[in-house]
C-alpha cells in the first residue's frame, strides 16, 4: 500500500516524470550500444573530417578525425555513465559505512572518522580530485577513484546524521535485549531505516559526479584517446568550435540534458522519500485557518448556525442570547466544525476533528475541556483564533463570538489584534513555544510592545513585573535568562507571563501541566487558580486528567471523537456522570488509596474521524448500547443545567 501510494505521488510530479523518461532513454540507448547498428566510434576516416550533421551515413556529422559523432556520443555517454555511476556506488558504500559505524559506536571512533572526513572537506573538491589524479596519473580509472574519494564525505555526513538520531531510539535497545549482536543491530535494524537517506544522497550527487567525470576528462585527466567520453569529446571539440560548432555542442547538450534529467528525477525521488518534505513542510500555512466559502456566505447573511442545530438554548451558561450579552460571556463557541482535508490520489476526504462543538465561558469562570487524544479538544482551542494550519484544516461550520464579535471569517487584522492580547494561549511544552535564541524577558516585553506600543524600557519593566507576578524567584536576574537555562516549571511560568502580558480577557491553556512533575504541577495549578481569581480572567483549561480539571475548574465539557458528549459542573459530573463514556472514563483511572477497586477498562478504540458511524460514536465501546443508538446521530440534549449526548439518559434524570 505504502509503495503503491509513493509511486502515485511520484508521477504527480510532472518534472520528475520527465526526468525519469530522460534517464531511462539514455540508459537504454547506452546499454544497447554494442547491438545498435553503429560504426566503430574510434574508426578514423580523414575524408569525413568535420562533416556537418545531416550528412549521409553520419546523421550527426563527424569530428576532426572523421569519426562518427553519433556513435561516439552513444559510446561516450556509456563511458561517462559507467564512471559516474561506479563512483557514486563506491562513494555511497564507503561513505555510508563510515557514517553508520561512526554514529553507532560514537566516542573515539566517531571522532577519528569524522575528523578525517572534515579534513577531506577542507579542500575544494575539484582541486582535491585534481591532486589525486596528479598523484595517481591520468586515466579513467584514476579519475573514478578521485571522484569517489571526494564524494565520500557527503555520504558519511548525511548517513551519520541520520543514524545518530536512530541509535538512541528504544528499538535499538530492544533489539539488543532480543539477543542481537552489534552487527545484527547495525545491518538488520539500523540500515533499513537509513536506506532512504542513502538513496536521497545518491539521487542528489549522481548528477554532480557525472559532471565531475566530464570535467576531469575535459582537462585531459580522465578518458585517454581514442576512448570517447562526454568530457573528452567536449575538450577535443573545443579546438574546432569556430569551424564546426557541432563537435563541441553535441556532447555539451548531452551532458546538459542528462544531468538535468538526473536532477529532476532525484528531486522527485527525494520529495517522495524524505519524511520532512513529505509532511508538507514546503507548503506554507496561511495566516489564519481557512473558512469554508459557503460558511463565509452564510455568516455574512447572518444565518450561519441554523436554529435547528443550535444546542439547548436554555442550557449551560444561561442566556447566551446570540452573543448579544458579550458582557457576561466573553467567549461563546457554537456548532464548531473544523475539519482536516486529506488527499489520497484524486479524492479528498475529511477528518472531522471537531464536529459540532459548543460551549460558553462566562467572565471570570474556568471551563475544563476534557478528552483523550483525538477527541478534538486542542483543535477546538486553536480554532478560536484561527490557529489551525491550513492546509489541511478548514472551518466548515459554526460560530465563535468574542465579546459579541464573530471571529470566524473575521479579517486577519482583527485576529492578529486579539492573538496574545485579548485571548492568550498557554501550551503544553513551553520549550517549543518560546524562542530559544531570545531571552525570556525580551519575549515577554515583545508581546507587551507589540500590542501596547510602549517604549523598550517600559516593556522591560513590565516583563519583570509579570515575572514577579507568576512567582519566578529572582525575576530581576532571570529576565536575562534564555529558555534553556530555566527548569520546565519555570519555563511554564514564563509561558504564563507571556499570556498575561496584555491583561487578556480569556486564557486558553492546552495541557499546560502535562509535561511537568506532580509537585511542579501543583504549583502551576495554584498559580493559575490565583491569577484567575485576582485578574478576573476567563480560563479555558484543556486536559485529559479529570483530577487536574477538578482542582481548577467550575464546569467541564467532556469531548469524544470530535463532539461534546457531556457538560456540567465538576461536582455533578464526578458524582453522577450522565454519558456512559464519562462514567467509564472515571472508572478506568486508578486512584490513590483505592487499590482494592478493579479497573474496568473501556474496550476497543475510538472511531476513525474520517470514517465515523451514523449513530452514537461511542456505541462500539459502550456497555449499555442498544440498536437505537446506532440508527441516527445523537444530539446533545439539555438535562437541567447539564447536557448529555446519549439517548438513554432520561429527560428527568438530572
Amino acid at each position: 500500500m505504502a509503495v503503491h501510494s509513493k509511486f502515485r505521488r511520484f508521477f504527480y510530479n510532472r518534472l520528475a516524470t520527465v526526468g525519469l523518461f530522460i534517464v531511462l532513454v539514455v540508459l537504454v540507448v547506452s546499454a544497447a550500444a554494442p547491438i545498435l547498428p553503429l560504426t566503430d566510434p574510434n574508426q578514423t576516416v580523414l575524408t569525413n573530417r568535420l562533416l556537418p550533421p545531416g550528412s549521409e551515413g553520419h546523421p550527426l556529422g563527424a569530428d576532426e578525425l572523421g569519426r562518427d559523432m553519433l556513435s561516439r556520443l552513444i559510446w561516450g555517454t556509456r563511458v561517462s555513465l559507467a564512471v559516474g555511476l561506479s563512483a557514486t556506488a563506491i562513494a555511497a558504500l564507503v561513505g555510508s559505512l563510515i557514517g553508520i559505524f561512526a554514529a553507532f559506536y560514537g566516542g573515539w571512533l566517531d571522532n577519528t572518522l569524522m575528523r578525517g572526513i572534515d579534513m577531506l572537506m577542507a579542500f575544494p573538491y575539484m582541486l582535491l580530485a585534481l591532486a589525486i589524479v596528479a598523484v595517481l596519473g591520468a586515466g579513467l580509472f584514476n579519475a573514478l577513484v578521485a571522484i569517489s574519494v571526494v564524494n565520500i564525505p557527503f555520504f558519511a555526513r548525511n548517513v551519520r546524521g541520520a543514524t545518530v538520531g536512530l541509535v538512541r531510539l528504544e528499538y535499538v535497545d530492544a533489539a539488543r535485549l532480543s539477543g542481537k549482536s552489534d552487527m545484527e543491530v547495525l545491518f538488520g535494524e539500523l540500515l533499513p531505516n537509513v536506506l532512504p537517506v542513502i538513496f536521497i544522497t545518491i539521487s542528489t550527487t549522481v548528477g554532480w559526479m557525472i559532471l565531475e567525470t566530464a570535467g576531469l576528462s575535459f582537462l585531459g585527466l580522465g578518458a585517454q584517446p581514442p576512448t570517447a567520453d562526454l568530457g573528452s569529446m567536449l575538450g577535443e571539440g573545443r579546438k574546432s568550435i569556430l569551424v564546426a560548432p557541432h563537435v563541441a555542442t553535441l556532447p555539451g547538450l548531452v551532458i546538459l540534458v542528462l544531468v538535468i534529467g538526473i536532477n529532476l528525477l532525484g528531486d522527485g525521488l527525494r520529495d517522495v522519500l524524505d519524511p520532512y518534505l513529505r509532511s508538507g513542510a514546503l507548503v506554507s500555512p496561511r495566516p489564519a485557518t481557512e473558512v469554508d466559502t459557503d460558511l463565509r456566505r452564510r455568516l455574512r447573511s447572518g444565518d450561519a448556525v441554523e436554529p435547528g442545530t443550535e444546542v439547548s438554548p436554555d442550557g449551560p451558561g444561561g442566556n447566551d442570547g446570540g452573543g448579544n450579552d458579550g458582557g457576561t460571556v466573553p467567549l461563546s463557541v457554537r456548532e464548531l466544525r473544523t475539519w482536516f482535508w486529506q488527499r489520497s490520489g484524486r479524492t479528498s476526504s475529511a477528518v472531522r476533528a471537531t464536529d459540532g462543538v459548543s460551549f460558553q465561558v462566562p467572565r471570570g469562570a474556568a471551563l475544563g475541556i476534557m478528552g483523550e487524544s483525538g477527541s478534538g479538544k486542542s483543535v477546538t482551542a486553536l480554532s478560536v483564533l484561527g490557529l489551525v494550519p491550513t492546509p489541511p484544516g478548514r472551518i466548515m461550520d459554526g460560530s465563535i463570538r468574542f465579546n459579541g464579535e464573530e471571529l470566524i471569517g473575521a479579517p486577519i487584522e482583527r485576529l492578529r489584534h486579539y492573538r496574545g492580547n485579548r485571548i492568550a494561549y498557554i501550551f503544553q511544552n513551553p520549550m517549543t513555544s518560546l524562542n530559544p535564541l531570545i531571552t525570556v524577558g525580551e519575549q515577554i516585553a515583545e508581546s507587551v510592545r507589540h500590542h501596547q506600543g510602549v517604549s523598550r524600557a517600559a516593556a522591560r519593566e513590565r516583563a519583570q513585573e509579570l515575572m514577579d507576578k507568576v512567582q519566578i524567584p529572582n525575576a530581576a536576574a532571570r529576565v536575562d535568562s534564555y529558555p534553556h537555562e530555566l527548569s520546565g516549571g519555570m519555563r511554564q511560568r514564563v509561558g504564563i507571563a507571556v499570556a498575561l502580558a496584555n491583561d487578556p480577557d480569556v486564557i486558553i491553556a492546552d495541557e499546560p501541566t502535562t509535561a511537568l512533575d506532580v509537585t511542579i504541577q501543583a504549583q502551576i495549578l495554584k498559580l493559575l487558580d490565583d491569577l484567575r481569581r485576582s485578574e478576573g480572567v476567563s480560563l479555558v483549561f484543556i486536559s485529559h486528567d479529570f483530577g487536574v480539571i477538578s482542582e481548577l475548574c467550575d464546569r467541564v465539557v467532556v469531548m469524544y471523537a470530535g463532539q461534546v458528549v457531556e457538560s456540567g459542573t465538576v461536582d455533578e459530573i464526578y458524582r453522577h456522570p450522565l454519558h456512559p463514556y464519562t462514567r467509564r472514563l472515571m472508572a478506568c483511572v486508578p486512584r490513590l488509596g483505592d487499590r482494592a477497586r478493579a479497573l474496568t477498562a473501556i474496550p476497543g478504540l475510538p472511531p476513525a474521524l474520517d470514517d465515523l458511524p451514523t449513530g452514537c460514536r461511542f456505541a462500539d465501546r459502550c456497555d449499555v448500547v442498544t440498536d437505537a443508538c446506532r440508527e441516527a446521530p445523537v444530539e446533545l440534549r439539555g438535562h437541567g443545567a447539564r447536557e448529555a449526548r446519549c439517548i438513554l439518559v432520561e429527560e428527568t434524570s438530572a
Binding site: 530492544a174 533499513p192 506532580v518 509537585t519 479529570f546 483530577g547
Partner: protein, 344 residues
C-alpha cells in the same frame, strides 16, 4: 504449597550500593563537564512474585536504575545480582543468557518497535536468538503471545505504524514475554497512553503477573498507577531511595516529608479541595548537591541538623518499612499553613 511460599521470598534481583555518574570527563579545549550523580547509592531487593514500584519525579534516577539492571548502561560502583550472578558487567553470551530471565518493556511503544519490521519478526527475534527455537515452534509461540496480549494473530504480518499506541504497547509486552522471563522491568509503560487505554494495559499487566508468575520492577511517576499494580514501593529523590516499604504502609502512613508532599500533590478527581503548594522551589542542581539531606532545601521540617548531616535509610517496624529522614520516628504531614485556602 509450602515450597511455593518459601520460593516467593527468594530474592531475584539484589541491587547493592549502586551508583552511576554522568559527565565529569575531561574535554579537549574545554572545562570538564559537570559530574552528575544520577544514581547515588541505591540498595533494593526484588523478591520473586513481587511487584516493586519505583516512583519519583524526573531526574530522580529511576530510569537510569532500570537501564543499569538491563545492562544498557553499566553502574560506576556497586553490584547488581540476578540470583547469584553479578550482572553489572556481563558481556556477550553471558548477557544474552541473562536476557532469557529478565526482559524490559519500554515507555514509548512506537519508538521501541522498528518501523521496518513486521510484528512477527519483532516477536520471533528473541525466540530465535535467545532460545534457538525452530521456525514451527516460533510460529506457534508467536500466535500464543498474540493471544496472551489480546491481539489477533492476523496482526503478525503488519508493521508497527499500523497500530495505535495501546496495541503497540501490547506488542512490546508480547516481545518481552517471548522468552518466558522471570522478571519484567517496566519503564513507565503506560505514561504515553490515553487514560482509557492505560487501564487496558494495567489490567493486562495485572493478569499476566498472576497467570505467568512474573516479578515486576515497575518504574513510574504516577503514584496511583503504582498503588494499583504494586505491592512494594521505593520512593526516589535525586538518585537516592528516601523511603521504601509496602504500598499500604508508604501511601497511608509515609515517614519521609518528600513522600508526604508527593502524595499531597496528586490531583484528586471530583474534589474541589484547595489547590496546594507545599514545595517551594525546584530540584537542586544535580551537579551541586546540597550538604546533608538532599531534600532539606525544599523541606518543611528541615533543621540545621538536616542541612549538615545526611540521614541514613533506617528500618521502622518489622514490615520492611525504611526511610531516610532524621524525623522518621515522628512523621508529620505538611503543616496546614502550607495549604493555601481558595480566596473564593
Amino acid at each position: 504449597m509450602n515450597a511455593s511460599s518459601a520460593m516467593n521470598n527468594e530474592p531475584l534481583i539484589r541491587i547493592e550500593a549502586v551508583e552511576r555518574t554522568f559527565g565529569g570527563a575531561r574535554r579537549f579545549l574545554a572545562p570538564p563537564s559537570p559530574l552528575i550523580h544520577a544514581v547515588n547509592g541505591v540498595t533494593l531487593t526484588l523478591r520473586r512474585g513481587d511487584a516493586l514500584g519505583v516512583v519519583g519525579e524526573s531526574g530522580c534516577g529511576k530510569s537510569t536504575l532500570a537501564r543499569m539492571i538491563m545492562g544498557i548502561i553499566p553502574p560506576t560502583a556497586g553490584t547488581i545480582r540476578y540470583r547469584d550472578t553479578d550482572i553489572s558487567s556481563l558481556r556477550g553470551a553471558d548477557r544474552r543468557r541473562l536476557y532469557r530471565n529478565i526482559q524490559f518493556v519500554f515507555q514509548d511503544p512506537q519508538s521501541s518497535l522498528n518501523p521496518r519490521k513486521t510484528v512477527r519478526e519483532i516477536l520471533e527475534a528473541p525466540m530465535k536468538k535467545l532460545l534457538n527455537l525452530d521456525a514451527a515452534a516460533r510460529e506457534r509461540k508467536a500466535r500464543e503471545l498474540m493471544d496472551r496480549v489480546n491481539l489477533r494473530a492476523e496482526f503478525l504480518d503488519r508493521h508497527p505504524h499500523e497500530f495505535s499506541g495501546g496495541q503497540a504497547q501490547r506488542i512490546g509486552i508480547a516481545r518481552a514475554l517471548a522468552v518466558d522471563p522471570d522478571v519484567l522491568i517496566l519503564d513507565e509503560p503506560v505514561s504515553a497512553l490515553d487514560v482509557s487505554i492505560q487501564a487496558q494495559i494495567l489490567s493486562l499487566l495485572k493478569e499476566l503477573k498472576s497467570d505467568l508468575d512474573l516479578t515486576y520492577l515497575f518504574i513510574s511517576h504516577d503514584l496511583a498507577v503504582v498503588d494499583y499494580l504494586c505491592e512494594q514501593v521505593a520512593v526516589m529523590y535525586l538518585g537516592q531511595v528516601v523511603e521504601q516499604g509496602s504500598v499500604g504502609e508508604i501511601f497511608e502512613s509515609p515517614r519521609h516529608p518528600y513522600t508526604h508532599v508527593l502524595l499531597r500533590s496528586v490531583p484528586e478527581p471530583g474534589s474541589h479541595r484547595p489547590t496546594r503548594m507545599e514545595l517551594s522551589g525546584e530540584l537542586p542542581n544535580p551537579a551541586a548537591l546540597p550538604a546533608g539531606c538532599n531534600f532539606a532545601p525544599r523541606c518543611y521540617r528541615a533543621t540545621a541538623r538536616c542541612r549538615g548531616e545526611e540521614p541514613d535509610l533506617r528500618g521502622y517496624g518489622d514490615g520492611g518499612h525504611r526511610a531516610a529522614c532524621h524525623f522518621a520516628d515522628d512523621p508529620v504531614p505538611p503543616p496546614e499553613d502550607a495549604i493555601t485556602e481558595r480566596n473564593a
